[in-house]
């Protein structure tokens, strides 16, 4: 069923949102906010998931959500206080719920044992009502169906008769229970004989039109059984007088009664006022009583309410957003990319043709450029998403690792509203998860060590995001013991990553953590180990065009800083020429450009050389040679050196023929078509229509260093 499948999809999308709201609310509760608003939002999230799960007959999900919800309900009604332990249980349950949802979404079967323990804990927390929750059939049926099941012969008898007395109450009628519709629904069950009882009717002068005064005696002959009969009175049986008897005998209509056999008969007026008029009379009276202003206040009241709660992010975001498939946005971004390129081509070619006297054309072109840039920015903004969803996921990681290591950890997040391109956010999930794991597992000390160091037993991991000069900066900071530099250096020496005699600065020692094959943990822990080191983290950050740096203070903690581009779609670059080819050097890597002087070039042998720039000496890399674009090295004196910054904070000078321009370029991935090419990150199309390669500064400089370091490593015993 297509429609059902699409609703199912909606359900799981909604589950994601609810789980996010759940996590958010629970974090607020964890932070001490137990206001009814917060508890209610948490309850609503679980409740919604349960509701949808029920519709799709996901019974395990329903069972767990129900137990979860019951605890929340207890908290909501003040019967249970949200203590630290309870909040912890709720957070764990939220994680479990998220797992169950994921399993259901993937269509896999749930192993009930996987959530049994938590379910029991929830039920236990729920204390008093635990037993009730156990046997409560939440697929609620208000009346007991047992009666008909036992009296099955009833159904076999096609001519079962019921004697029913029904006296509507004023309240029921005012709540929209129209007696005539109830009588009509009885009529649908079989043959009815209805007599009206009007003994309660006062003299006409005392009659109040909005009072329900009539009673009905109904003889019903039906094949449908008691349950069906009672169902007709489902909504009125507690507020009205309803008596249903099963004499089993065929009723004999008394003289003077109205025999109703068809709906028409019901509408046939007898000596009594017909039912519809009764209802209308109430409505008319009500209308007279409640004048127009009431309507207005009712609606305006609602609007005011809405306005007042506009700040409520969940409320306002619901109506102010639309859902668009990612593919469409990507197509739009691609098209805008083409537009930018085309605009550049046009500007260049027109510029060549018209040299003077065409100010209209030029100003038109300028306007076009401005508009194109604006469109591009706006389109990019569509893909931008707050990092909140990413940060929220980290809460769970912290809890899991804290649990596994027996540490008490609090995750604090800042700048969750900072927006970054969706792709960047997605690609950040893995490295960030690893960094958070590391921070809790290695960064923070054990509780005993913390106490001994005079710190609070609760460790803090701080995750923050902010925009900084066109990039997004994400930091992961812990208040642990800081990097044990002596140990790091010793490990690095033992593993042959550092020559034994080398003198390293503190920063250099810290950066050893990023070297492949480095791990400080004496034994690889199952938590942050997993065969992934910080080198992999750094690699994935680099792949995003980002950088990672580290700083640490003994005794007070370690800070990892990630600096990332806001988007992966465009990049500011320096356009350079190398052996008749055009390349782009990402501007973020460029420190400065200079014309090398001959006496500053230091030959190192084997075709390598270094460049002295003021107080530094940096490796000099001939880009043309490194990429195989030319066979003989370029004369450094006739070329331009671009000083670039690499990840490990070491610097390198790239030698190119000349610098042509600086511009924003649209990144076109070539990996899909050509695979990974060392030294090349991606391609772009220039204003003149030419394809230019975007240099991957990291691999070019790394490649160069490798050829330097290879013999050294071998002599140090390798890895």
């Amino acid at each position: 069923m297509d429609q059902m499948a699409s609703i199912r999809q909606t359900f799981f999308q909604e589950c994601e949102e609810q789980l996010q709201a759940l996590e958010e609310g629970l974090m607020e509760m964890d932070g001490g906010d137990h206001s009814s608003e917060v508890v209610n939002s948490v309850f609503r999230a679980v409740h919604s998931i349960k509701g949808g799960a029920g519709a799709f007959k996901l019974s395990e999900l329903v069972e767990f959500a129900h137990a979860f919800e019951t605890v929340l309900d207890e908290i909501r009604s003040g019967k249970l206080s949200a203590s630290h332990d309870i909040t912890k249980l709720l957070l764990k349950s939220a994680d479990q719920l998220s797992d169950l949802v994921a399993t259901c979404r993937d269509g896999a079967s749930i192993n009930p044992a996987s959530y049994r323990q938590l379910l029991d804990e929830l039920k236990q927390a729920n204390g008093s009502s635990a037993g009730q929750a156990e046997d409560e059939n939440w697929d609620d049926i208000d009346f007991t169906p047992m009666t008909i099941d036992i009296g099955t012969p009833v159904d076999a008898d096609p001519g079962q008769s019921f004697q029913i007395y029904f006296k509507p109450s004023t309240g029921a009628v005012q709540a929209g229970n129209e007696p005539i519709l109830i009588l009509r629904s009885l009529l649908e069950l079989g043959q009815t004989v209805v007599s009206c009882e009007f003994s309660d009717l006062p003299p006409l002068a005392e009659l109040k039109v909005d009072e329900a005064l009539l009673g009905f005696n109904i003889s019903l002959r039906t094949e449908r059984g008691l349950a069906a009969v009672r169902e007709c009175f489902e909504f009125v049986e507690d507020s009205c007088v309803v008596r249903i008897e099963e004499p089993g005998a065929t009723p004999t209509p008394e003289a003077g009664n109205v025999t109703v056999t068809a709906p028409v008969a019901l509408e046939t007026p007898t000596e009594l006022p017909p039912m519809p008029k009764f209802a209308e009379a109430i409505a008319a009276k009500a209308e007279a009583a409640a004048a127009e202003p009431v309507v207005l206040t009712a609606i305006e009241g609602g609007k005011a309410d809405a306005q007042q709660q506009k700040q409520d992010k969940s409320a306002s975001s619901a109506s102010a957003t639309i859902r668009v498939e990612l593919d469409r946005v990507d197509r739009l971004i691609n098209l805008v990319g083409e537009l930018v390129i085309n605009q550049a081509i046009l500007a260049q070619s027109v510029g060549q043709v018209i040299t003077s006297g065409a100010s209209d054309v030029n100003s038109g072109l300028e306007e076009l450029e401005r508009l194109t840039r604006d469109i591009q920015d706006s389109v990019m903004a569509i893909r931008a998403q707050p990092v909140k969803s990413l940060f929220q996921r980290m809460g769970r990681i912290v809890r899991e690792v804290a649990d596994a290591t027996g540490k008490i950890v609090r995750l604090r997040t800042e700048g969750e509203t900072t927006e970054v391109d969706k792709t960047v956010i997605e690609s950040l999930a893995d490295p960030l998860t690893h960094m958070i794991r590391n921070a809790v597992d290695h960064g923070l000390e054990t509780t005993e060590d913390r106490l001994r160091a005079g710190k609070s037993e609760e460790g803090t991991v701080r995750l923050s995001a902010a925009h900084q000069s066109g990039r997004v900066v994400i930091t992961v900071a812990d208040d642990g013991g800081g990097i044990n530099r002596a140990k790091v250096l010793e490990t690095a020496r033992r593993k042959g990553l550092v020559p034994s005699g080398a003198q390293l600065s503190e920063t250099e020692i810290d950066n050893l953590l990023f070297l492949p094959g480095f791990s400080t943990a004496a034994e690889v822990s199952s938590i942050s180990g997993r065969g992934v080191g910080m080198d992999v983290v750094r690699r994935s950050i680099q792949a995003l065009g980002g950088r990672i740096s580290i700083s640490s203070k003994p005794g007070s903690g370690t800070v990892f800083t990630l600096s990332l581009p806001l988007t992966l779609a465009v990049l500011d670059g320096v356009v350079v020429s190398v052996a008749d080819d055009v390349f782009i050097v990402p501007l973020t890597s460029v420190v400065e450009t200079l014309q090398p002087e001959v006496n500053n070039i230091l030959p190192l042998g084997q075709g390598h050389s270094a460049l002295r720039i003021r107080e530094w000496i940096v490796p000099l890399i001939d880009v043309g040679m490194a990429l195989g674009a030319r066979k003989t090295p370029i004369d450094p004196a006739n070329s331009v050196a671009i000083l670039v910054d690499t990840e490990d904070r070491s610097r390198c000078a790239l030698l190119v023929d000349r610098i042509d321009d600086q511009r924003q370029v649209v990144i076109k991935s070539i990996e899909r078509n050509y695979g990974e090419i060392p030294g090349i990150a991606a391609a772009t199309i220039l204003g003149n229509g030419r394809v230019a390669m975007i240099l991957d500064v990291e691999t070019i400089t790394e490649g160069n260093q490798k050829s330097f370091e290879a013999p050294k490593r071998a002599s140090a015993g390798g890895r």
Binding site: S185, A286, E287, G302, A306
Partner: protein
């Protein structure tokens, strides 16, 4: 003439399920996301019946029913609450603010239709 039903629920899943079931029975459906939105929609359509969730942001089902009952033309409009709760307390509260009846989640489409037909003409 086909019945027109206004459904008020903050869950898209639930709204979609209701719409599918009601449409299949030939009924027209208007949708709202919560009580406040429900009142806005009510000012633009005249439903024969309202089905509302109880627990919703901004304005919950109880507040919504109360507000609807204050509108003269809707004083007798059948309003069904949609609830997974089985406790009589909430049903009683809903009734006290003017709800006509209830539909229990998860609902069978046939049951939903029969209830709507029973309360709305």
């Amino acid at each position: 003439m086909s019945l027109t039903v206004l459904t008020v629920d903050d869950s898209r899943t639930m709204r979609d399920m209701l719409r599918m079931a009601l449409n299949a029975a030939g009924m027209l459906v208007h949708q709202a996301e919560d009580g406040v939105h429900g009142l806005e929609v009510l000012s633009t359509c005249a439903p024969d019946c309202i089905i509302t969730d109880l627990n919703m942001p901004r304005m919950d089902g109880f507040g919504f029913i109360e507000a609807v009952r204050k509108i003269p033309q809707y004083q007798l409009l059948p309003i069904l609450i949609l609830t997974t709760e089985s406790d009589a307390e909430r049903k009683a509260k809903a009734r006290s603010v003017g709800a006509t009846g209830w539909i229990t989640k998860p609902f069978e489409p046939e049951k939903l239709i029969s209830v709507v037909r029973r309360v709305a003409s």
